[in-house]
Symmetry: C2
Subunit: 186 residues, 2 copies
Amino acid sequence: MNQLRTHIEKIIPLDDDEFELISSHFTYKKYKKHQFLIQEGESVEYNYFVLKGLLKLVYTDEDGKEHIVGFAMEDWWETDFSAYYLKKKATMSLECMEDTEVLCLKLEDYRKLCAAFPKLEHFFLEKAYMGFISAQQRIISTMTTGIKERYEQLLEKHPSLIQRVPKSLLAAYLGVSRETLSRLSL
Amino acid sequence: MNQLRTHIEKIIPLDDDEFELISSHFTYKKYKKHQFLIQEGESVEYNYFVLKGLLKLVYTDEDGKEHIVGFAMEDWWETDFSAYYLKKKATMSLECMEDTEVLCLKLEDYRKLCAAFPKLEHFFLEKAYMGFISAQQRIISTMTTGIKERYEQLLEKHPSLIQRVPKSLLAAYLGVSRETLSRLSL
């Protein structure tokens, strides 16, 4: 749980009692490589804070083709956020690419904690703004930038991700075929 | 200012004193069609709440081609958020497509208000989550959906937008040429 405390305290201070109450609302879970945390079509119970491991958030289109919406690794939050927050069925799946350990937070517990500690909303607001900025930058990048530049941007932003993610999935994230990525010598 | 109060009170309650203090931190500004609220390369002083009018948030690529990152109209918030929040130079421009009236909020005043009224962070968190969900849906839609379906999704989500935005700009938003949009009889 120390990892979660350090992570939150980068944005807001917490005393021991506060953190004890906060951490009591998280559940620890461990998954093997290839296990699913979220399956398309099911309810999404949790938002996940990644302690260890690597995950992919995947949208599968009507033709069965996988599109990578995002990756997540240590200290990232990940879920099918729209389904989680709006209590709808998942349109994406969340799958482990490595053995993974997470802390799980239910929406009800998230709301309880925010009511108890309004400063937690400051923490989540900061996270939400950064998520929004990243998503908007990805939209711009998709509209305007060549594959090679997008690969290089990803490399610059998340060097450790590139080392851990197979090239075929990087291709699915960048929206090109594995062959195209190879042709660019990436 | 009543419009802003109604807008905020959809999410959090406010008493008269609270709203008076909040509204005192906003500045009213009026722009003519084609005027810029944000110009690429300049500092971004404000987040804008649109009282009346229509705006486009534009990213111009190296070849001088315009890409529409988003539109904004009545009761929407719009700015180059990354530049505003991270105090960087604008990478996008924000231009009026109709005569427009806005309420402007400086980042310093935003922070002051959130410190004074933590529940305002709950309001902005809700807005940030909806912005994030929209951006993520747009990423998925760009990766997986044909132009016609994307046009129909936009029509369903924002019918009034489609009526007010010229086809050439809808094409720039959808990432296709005006001719492609015509060929699809859209």
